[in-house]
Symmetry: C2
Subunit: 505 residues, 2 copies
């Protein structure tokens, strides 16, 4: 794979100087053009030590407006990072729309080193690469331009390069003992590199293998590719603004996606109709049962805190289905210092400038805490789908993105549950009317609630598709019959307690 990157290509000084002005202008213009575009540029540098990752990064920052080209380099995880899923720190640093972010090794570093140094086997390595592939696909499909440069050196050239760096006053600090240890494992690194590139070089986030031996050659190569990719994307964006047609790339992907199976049409077949709404508890038996579950939950959540186990709970459901009441019955027994409830409404300006999952990632809490989402990332496949706020292509790919996100939470050891609180349309009507009659509840009922009600059938289809596509073994939906509030609240409390019980030692 790397033979073409060992051809010994160079660029002479004159040719480089001729190119330089053109490249700098092109990069600057592209950076300026990007500023008003609704997508970011993510540039990843990885590869052999000494092949010029840092120097090329410096060059790009220098040739562009460096104030807006942040470079992200990562060391070992801090305690705050270790207590969250691995990708949390990368999400934290993703550039906002209109900006460029440069990532040094970043999400490739741990998987490659783990495999090379024998801390992970082939299967674990493949799984890591699949996660990376899914992560980058998510960025790309959200519009991000993702460019990845693999800086290559032959083993011999690497040795020479490290020796040269060591002998340079200005550069010797770049060579630490670990660089030499890595060099000794050169062949194993190359095997890891091949596997990495093969598995993560996708049509939309391809790797560019760059011969790193000659400074001028590698700088010109990287700068040219970055400039060209940015300019191409800017042209596409402009054209799309003029014509309003979906880009061919997106359209193609949409058709290819196995998930585009026909939607269930007949609402009478909806999964929601299978729920048993018969009343199981009256006030008295509910109070007794709740007391029992509360005692369980109090004990379990204290244990979870002691063991550093986090929980994430998601509440979705019809308006007036009783989400708030159910959440209250949970938080009643939690220590106020241990949980947080996030009501999810319209995103802030800062949030709108990022991938839509960014605002959920940033809310993930540290070890031992419970994070409760009152409405959630499912908005994309519910309200945004039904109201047309998201394009079909966008909400369709959200299913996989969401599965992927939740899988990372579960893999990290987070106790996870998601609830759909279901009431029948008749029950909802009664609750709306009751709210209208009760002065201190009127503020809870808005015109929007009535409008949503009119689109019941559309929402029902959306819920059906959501459950079908996002109820996985690791992160199953709990569908809660909620016509009777008592039954619904009990089921929520009991389900969370059960999950905790399973998860704790």
């Amino acid at each position: 794979m790397f033979e073409v990157a060992e051809l010994g290509r160079t660029l002479d000084k004159e040719a480089y100087e001729q190119l330089e002005m053109e490249l700098r202008l092109g990069l600057l213009q592209a950076q300026q053009g990007l500023r008003s575009c609704p997508f970011p540029v993510v540039v990843v540098f990885a590869g052999v030590d000494g092949a010029g990752k840092s120097e090329t990064t410096n060059l790009l920052a220098r040739w562009m407006d460096s104030r807006y080209v942040p470079v992200q380099a990562y060391g070992t995880h801090s305690d705050e990072e270790r207590e969250r899923p691995e990708f949390w720190r990368y999400w934290r640093d993703l550039p906002r729309n209109g900006r460029i972010g440069i990532f040094l090794s970043s999400w490739y570093s741990r998987p490659v080193l783990d495999w090379v140094q024998g801390r992970s086997d082939d299967l674990a390595f493949r799984r890591d690469l699949e996660r990376i592939e899914a992560f980058e696909r998510m960025l790309v499909e959200d519009g991000a331009l993702v460019l990845k440069f693999w800086m290559h050196l032959s083993k011999d050239k690497q040795r020479k390069r490290l020796e040269k760096l060591e002998s340079s006053k200005l550069e010797s600090w770049r060579v630490r003992p670990e660089q030499w240890r890595n060099w000794e494992q050169y062949e194993r690194f190359m095997a890891a590199a091949e596997e990495t590139i093969r598995r993560t070089s996708t049509g939309q986030a391809p790797w560019h293998i760059v011969e790193g031996a000659n400074r001028r050659y590698r700088e010109a190569t990287v700068a040219t590719r970055l400039r060209d990719a940015m300019q191409l994307r800017l042209h596409e964006h402009e054209r799309r603004l003029r014509t309003f047609t979906p880009a061919p790339v997106e359209r193609r992907r949409m058709l290819e996606d196995a998930e585009v199976s026909p939607e269930p049409q007949a609402n009478s077949q909806s999964v929601l109709h299978t729920l048993d709404q018969t009343r199981k508890h009256d006030k008295k038996s509910y109070k007794k049962a709740l007391k029992h579950e509360h005692a369980r939950l109090a004990k379990l959540t204290r244990q979870a805190r002691e063991q550093g186990r986090s929980s994430v709970l998601v509440f979705e459901g019809w308006d007036a289905a009783g989400k708030g009441g159910a959440i209250k019955r949970l938080t009643d027994v939690l220590d106020a210092r241990d949980y947080r409830v996030h009501p999810i409404a319209a995103p802030t300006e800062e949030e709108r400038m990022h991938h839509y999952l960014w605002r959920f990632w940033r809310r993930i809490e540290r070890a031992g805490k419970t994070t409760i989402f009152d409405r959630s990332w499912y908005g994309r496949v519910l309200v945004e789908r039904v109201e047309g706020f998201a394009s079909e292509e966008t909400w369709r790919r959200a299913y996989a993105e969401i599965r992927h996100f939740e899988e990372q939470l579960v893999d990290h050891g987070t106790v996870f549950a998601k609830f759909w609180l279901h009431i029948t349309p008749e029950e909802q009507l009664q609750r709306f009317q009751a709210r209208e009659r009760t002065p201190h509840k009127q503020w809870k009922l808005t015109d929007e609630d009535w409008r949503n009600r009119e689109r019941w059938a559309d929402y029902e289809s959306a819920v059906d598709a959501m459950v079908e596509r996002t109820s996985t073994r690791e992160a199953p939906w709990t569908l809660v019959p909620a016509n009777n509030k008592y039954d619904a609240r009990l089921m929520v409390v009991r389900t969370f307690a059960d999950r905790l019980e399973q998860a704790l030692d």
Copy 2:
């Protein structure tokens, strides 16, 4: 003031090239040395447009390891920033210990522009500058090396420079119409600059005025000063490590500080002894009164949310004084989505790498939310002082830092209250013993509680000093007699409701 920066100094190419290697090496070594030091370097660039702020920034990033020299440039405030005190975004970006952060204009930009463009009067401008001075002093006293460069050009030179930039293909994007508008107001800018430099050039965070007309001269000047300042600081740090004596600068400041008045000695005179601990409510009258206050609070907090008014509440007090119970009586009537309780224990690794107020700043919530601190930044002048975790110099200056922090909250419109829950030593003993006897409460009592109890008198002195020095008109302490839990809880709920009532329209 700026005459010396209009002398037309230049540096010829040869001299510059001779200097360059030496400067780069020096900067690199200083950066490497800094990495293991327990303080950050904050570099601020401000000054005349076109005088080379950005270019010099680029140069520094290039000469050092640019991965660890983040450059912070700021545009208009985002919605998330507007909903918090002005300095929140700067705190967010402060470099951690061992790192360098470069700030372009940053906290100087808004005050200067407001005054130049007539949006603020002399008094408001002076107040802005005082706030900056206090902010930088806080950083310096925490150990940060703060360097500020004012890049200067004469009016005529600025015009020429802007024209030259405009005519350069690679640089023309730097000149926007606002740069020319600013140029027309050159004299007013210079008046603002003089005032700014005069008021914020302190012994420990002085301004360096740099003649910006000649690229080589200004680059060499800035790089030399930065290198020298870093090397000097590194030497000082090393020497201190060897000798364990407080730095002379700190010692001097300590003696000069007007706040170092003698401590109150006689504990019988403590402010806490003036509190009336007579029981005012029994269970029945408490329940009735609480119901009334809860109804008030529920209404007021809803209004606060609607008006986007945030609240910050601080709870301090003896172990077993009932902080948790009092907080619970507040949160009982708050919407779980609107508040957050932060228990303050040991800082995380990330937090330890910053100024100790950083971890409180990052927890300040958006508009309409209530943030409750269960213990707080007062730890510095209480437990850290008494247990000797903070040096005397450190906790002494915390009084002013805290006043300053709280003042910013209040100025921003935040409803603020801080409570000291006071019980007598006899009452505490009874509560400890009751905890020992009750199985499900035993976990609340630790050896540390007993140890703290032995230092009651020291803590009492610390509380006295704390109240004396941080109970200001804008942010007064509420001292709560808490021997009777009912009275204490009622007082807390009522005080918060009263504060909200005063604040809301």
